[in-house]
């Protein structure tokens, strides 16, 4: 067991590599030599082009996949040790891209109860947790609804509630907004930010660059490697590198860059429309 846990660290990856066996092309290294630590309460966004290994990495953080080489610890528990798996999965809950393929039960409340039921929580306590979780994601009015009649954003919030009801330390979301409309995306992002304020560590994978600006830290994956890591301002400063990887910066950041090139003085940290407006009106 890893011993040198500092009190605030929650996830640590060291030299993590992972290899898929593929039927046609043989083996494929989806992750190569990745090392990082994530502290309790942080909001991390992971960016990367299609096929860069984001989902593969996410599945390592709650022991759904085990490293081919290197190690991953969650709350000081080594994921390679099978005895730790259930505790790790309770600590690090995961929400997936397609809301349809992660809702198990035929009503909202039954689905949210699924996790706590698996953990063997007593009935009365499950009830309390389900109500609390649905309240937190703003779906308390939909307890008896059938999931297939909800909108995408609502389904995704139900999925989040299902994880919250397990009382995790850490929430891992793999492109939760990819299939949603703007309102659904806002609903989900606001929910995630609220949970982060309550002290839950959030690791969010996304293709929407605008969603990265609220992060404490952004990690960029490219071809299975950790290509960049830093605050949103630091990462988005490197717009050309991002574009070379198939990514982009939010339009405002690109605009701010263009304005600087034309000689306008702007603070280096401009990431949002509001920030640019207040800079320009100074």
């Amino acid at each position: 067991m890893y011993r040198g846990v500092s009190p605030i660290e929650i996830i640590r990856a060291k030299g993590l590599g992972f290899k898929y066996q593929q039927a046609d092309t043989g083996e494929c290294w989806a992750l190569r030599d990745i090392s990082f630590t994530i502290n309790k309460g942080e909001f991390i966004v992971i960016l990367g082009p299609n096929g860069s290994g984001k989902s593969t990495l996410a599945k390592h953080l709650n022991a759904l996949l085990l490293p081919t080489c290197g190690e991953v610890w969650v709350n000081g528990l080594l994921t390679s040790d099978e005895a730790n798996h259930w505790q790790i999965r309770q600590l690090a809950g995961m929400v997936f891209q397609n809301p349809d393929n992660q809702i198990v039960a035929t009503t909202v409340e039954e689905d949210v109860a699924f996790g706590p039921e698996n953990l063997g929580v007593p009935s009365a306590e499950i009830r309390a947790r389900v109500d609390e979780a649905l309240e937190l994601v703003g779906m308390a009015g939909y307890k008896k609804h059938a999931p297939h009649l909800l909108s995408g954003g609502q389904k995704q919030r139900v999925a989040i509630a299902g994880v919250i009801a397990m009382r995790p330390e850490c929430l891992i979301l793999d492109e939760p907004t990819a299939m949603l409309d703007p309102r659904g995306r806002i609903e989900v992002m606001e929910t995630v930010q609220r949970l982060n304020k309550e002290g839950i560590t959030v690791i969010l994978i996304t293709h929407f660059m605008e969603e990265a600006v609220i992060a404490d830290r952004v990690m960029v994956l490219a071809d299975g490697r950790l290509a960049m890591s830093g605050t949103p301002a630091e990462v988005f400063m490197r717009g050309d590198e991002l574009r070379a990887l198939g990514l982009d910066t939010p339009p405002v950041v690109r605009l701010a860059q263009e304005l600087r090139l034309a000689g306008v003085e702007l603070a280096p940290s401009v990431l949002t429309v509001e920030e640019l407006v207040s800079e320009l009106c100074r």
């Binding site: 709650n62 759904l64 039960a105 007593p122 297939h148």
Partner: protein, 267 residues
């Protein structure tokens, strides 16, 4: 094609009637007893009593009648078929009509109508159960009744889980097949005309994508369940443990009483 989305499993309609509130296990047992009663009865008085009971429940259940009867449509053909079979092939009693070598006998008509009545009672009472009981409650009840079997190695929990997942995904898959069908129709596919062999061949562009996506769904769902600590029925608790109230025992007792009366008085 647009009906796919409308299929609510077993046609369950949420509500708050007495039937809706009864424990699913009590409803199951009462229905079984009621079915026994249907087969025991053989007088008009007996049927009248059953009819009064069924219609009372139907009217108090809060289910729109049009909705109720629409759901019964497929059964009409079965009833008609049963009636005709009995009229033409059951012999006995007096001959009412002679058509060449064939005859229509009074006993045939009598029995035909009896059988149709029984079918009506069976279908109406069973759909009262499925219309007022949510699929989960039904699965819970089934799991409960199957529990003794798990000592014989029958995977009671797994069967119930499978049913729940099937119920959850039927509407999703229906929607999906509708979508794929339309996508192929937009490419000129024809699912409606041609002989049987051609039609079967034309289904390939529908079935292959459906299989591919179902396997992917199954895979993703399995991972999502594992991520939420699912590991079979061992050590699992439930959000809602089934809880029988005096009302439920009363319901079963009343159903039992009806049988006893029918059997005892020979109605």
């Amino acid at each position: 094609m647009n009906m796919f989305r409308s299929i609510t499993i077993g046609q369950y309609l949420p509500g708050d009637s007495l039937l809706h509130r009864l424990d699913p296990r009590a409803k199951f047992i009462a229905l079984l007893l009621f079915i026994v009663a249907i087969f025991l009865v053989n007088t008009y008085w007996g049927y009248l009593i059953l009819a009064v009971i069924v219609t009372t429940f139907l009217f108090t259940s809060g289910i729109p009648l049009s909705y109720f009867f629409r759901g019964l449509r497929p059964v009409y053909y079965i009833m008609l078929f049963t009636l005709l079979i009995h009229i033409f092939f059951t012999k006995g009693g007096s001959v009412l009509l002679r058509l060449g070598p064939a005859t229509i006998d009074s006993y045939g008509i009598y029995l035909g109508f009896y059988m149709v009545l029984r079918i009506i009672f069976l279908v109406v009472s069973t759909s009262l159960l499925t219309l007022t009981t949510s699929p989960i409650a039904l699965t819970d009840a089934l799991e409960y009744f199957m529990k003794p079997l798990s000592y014989l190695g029958v995977p009671a929990h797994e069967i119930a889980m499978m049913m729940t997942i099937a119920l959850r995904f039927i509407p999703t898959l229906m929607e999906e097949s509708e979508k794929i069908m339309k996508a192929q129709m937009a490419r000129g596919a024809d699912f409606e005309s041609g002989n049987i062999i051609n039609r079967a061949k034309n289904l390939v562009p529908l079935l292959v994508p459906l299989f591919v996506s179902s396997f992917r769904r199954a895979d993703e769902l399995a991972i999502a369940m594992e991520a939420r600590c699912y590991r079979g029925g061992m050590g699992r608790t439930r959000l809602r443990e089934l809880q029988a109230t005096p009302r439920d025992f009363l319901a079963v007792a009343v159903a039992g009483l009806i049988i006893a009366v029918i059997a005892g008085t020979g109605l």
